[in-house]
């Protein structure tokens, strides 16, 4: 019975016509030549135990490399005894995001407020150190923690800035309108790597000699501003999709510009562009490894350092597969979160 079902299913879905059969056979062939060797390399013949490269005697992956370097990959050169501070910051973040799933809608605005205005300060104090905690300079930050710090900083600041720019670009006041257009087009027109080099190398030259802005902060601000231009254009797409009647109705009820946008226009506009916003944030997350080029060691940078260690030569594949897996999981989380939001709000609309 089951076999018959399977036969039926494959006839309908895989072999419904000669060209579908051809494509299906080709895909099956691809799976057969790639998947078993990969599983064999990654799991069956892989080495998990040991502390040295010499412990890896089989032909498979040497996960010992990841195990030994794991802490460095996660936290970079952050002092081991202070790692709890990073963990605590991320725990606060995860808990407040988790809480937003459970509380009622009217409290969500407080969580959002907390995430935008209060959390960055708490996280900075914890991670950088202050109030009697040992100071950890940002050049010691690294690994996945740095990736996430930059990505989260970028997301938290590029979003409101992008929304303001989108509104500005549609403003009736010429000064605001043309400022927004120039700003957006400037930042969209230059590559991220240029922004990073400018923030890391050029920007300090332009400042007076006695002022100093932390390099990580400069990079983070550069990324946030760069991404805000993209967010602005995505949100503008949403604003344009709204019927003019929504503005008429809000105005006729006596709402001013900010109330109208906050209660009526933006909630609808942003809702329609959730996929585009998620897209931008995923791209932002995956762009962070570029900071390797300005001498900062986020997770990919740490892997590069580790694979160049004389005792661990030849571990590049393991390192990059590990990095790919981490980025995939993080991106997948962002994308499923955005889908969840989309579903939630599409049911409300009906």
């Amino acid at each position: 019975m089951k076999i018959k079902n399977l036969a039926n299913w494959s006839r309908q879905n895989l072999f419904s016509s000669w060209y579908n059969s051809l494509i299906s056979l080709f895909c099956i062939y691809l799976i057969i030549i790639t998947l078993p060797p990969f599983i064999d390399w990654a799991f069956l013949s892989a080495t998990f135990d040991g502390n040295l490269k010499t412990d890896c005697k089989t032909s498979g992956a040497c996960w010992v490399f990841i195990k030994v370097w794991f802490e460095k990959f996660m936290y970079g050169f952050y002092p081991v005894e202070n790692i709890w501070r990073i963990n605590l910051s991320f725990l606060i973040l995860i808990l407040s995001i988790a809480a937003s799933f459970f509380v009622r809608d009217k409290f969500k605005i407080y969580i959002l407020f907390f995430l935008i205005f209060i959390f960055p300060i708490i996280a900075f104090i914890l991670i950088h150190g202050s109030f009697g905690m040992q100071i950890v300079e940002s050049r010691e930050w690294g690994g996945l923690a740095l990736t996430f710090i930059l990505a989260i900083f970028g997301i938290i600041f590029s979003f409101p800035l992008g929304v303001l720019l989108a509104l500005g670009r549609r403003s009736e006041l010429p000064v605001i309108k043309y400022f927004s257009i120039c700003f957006i087009e400037f930042w969209r027109g230059i590559p991220l790597i240029t922004v990073l080099f400018a923030a890391a190398v050029m920007f300090p030259l332009l400042l007076p000699a006695d002022t100093y802005v932390d390099k990580t902060l400069r990079i983070a601000i550069g990324i946030a501003i760069f991404e805000s231009a993209y967010i602005a254009e995505v949100v503008r797409g949403g604003l344009q999709s709204l019927p003019k009647g929504q503005y008429d109705a809000a105005r006729s009820l006596g709402m001013g510009y900010w109330k109208m946008n906050f209660f009526i226009i933006l909630p609808q506009a942003i809702k329609t562009v959730i996929p585009g916003i998620a897209n931008t944030f995923i791209a932002l997350l995956k762009d962070t490894p570029l900071i390797v080029l300005v001498g900062m060691a986020e997770i990919l940078g740490m892997i590069n350092l580790a694979k160049a260690n004389p005792y661990w030569l030849g571990m590049a594949v393991e390192g990059y597969v590990f990095a790919a897996a981490i980025f995939w999981v993080a991106s997948y989380f962002l994308s499923s979160y955005s889908q969840r939001l989309e579903n939630k709000y599409s049911t409300e609309k009906k």
Binding site: A249, G254, I264, K350
Partner: protein, 245 residues
């Protein structure tokens, strides 16, 4: 009539680029009066009432609503909008908010009314338009007629002194027109000052004090209702009435 003049338009002119949509419009509306504005499409009827609450900006002439002269100042615009309610052809309910929230939003954030009071007020007007049982639904779940009644309730929640209706029944299926007109008739009988852009002539005959006929941006005929229908003078009015009745 010795009643207070609540709206006064004096030589109002408006252009869209080269196109002269409103030509020397003079119009006075008294407290409690019901005025129907009709005319062929493109004659400037909607633009005329949209100039009253500044959804459109006029270029020449003056618009006065009660004690406020409409000018560029946000203050005067917001003052007028808080006294003038408006109902649109396409309802324009806020689709992301429930019917109740549609009604409470402006009272709570513009009038700064406590939430409880705003909800009581909303329920009062939703009951008046007979959709109190739909209060927690979203606009997309309601029929066109129900949506338009909700839109009327939403406007009434700001407790306006004057109501503007911009072709309120034109987007409705025929069987739903009556339920909306009934609500509007009740409102008229309760003494609301109303300006209604509409081609519902039966409704006009029943509630209107005056009928205004517009063509090509001018008011070509303005008469008390009975005379307008029995004794139109202008040729264009006669032609229009013969086509529509």
């Amino acid at each position: 009539m010795n009643k207070e003049k609540v709206i006064e338009l004096n030589k109002v002119n408006k252009w869209y680029g080269e196109f002269h949509v409103l030509k020397d419009i003079d119009l006075s509306v008294y407290q409690g009066e019901k005025i129907i504005v009709c005319g062929p499409s493109g004659s400037g009827k909607s633009t005329l009432i949209r100039c009253i609450n500044r959804l459109e900006e006029h270029q020449e002439g003056t618009v006065r609503v009660r004690d406020t002269i409409l000018d560029h100042h946000t203050q005067s615009i917001e003052k007028i909008r808080s006294e003038v309610g408006m109902v649109f052809q396409q309802f324009n309910l806020f689709p992301h908010l429930s019917i109740l929230d549609n009604c409470t939003l402006a009272p709570s954030w513009v009038r700064k009314m406590p939430k409880k009071d705003a909800e009581d007020l909303a329920m009062k007007y939703l009951t008046k338009v007979k959709i109190d049982d739909q209060a927690l639904k979203f606009p997309g779940q309601l029929s066109g007629g129900q949506q338009q009644r909700a839109a009327i309730a939403r406007a009434l929640c700001m407790e306006p002194k004057i109501m503007l209706f911009d072709e309120p029944t034109s987007a409705l299926d025929p069987e739903m027109i009556k339920e909306v007109l009934d609500v509007m008739t009740d409102l008229a009988k309760a003494g609301m000052t109303m300006i209604v852009v509409s081609h519902e002539m039966a409704f006009a005959k029943e509630v209107a004090d005056r009928v205004i006929f517009m063509d090509e941006g001018s008011i070509v005929e303005e008469k008390p209702t009975a005379q307008f229908f029995s004794n139109p003078e202008n040729e264009r009015t006669k032609l229009f009435l013969s086509q529509i009745l």
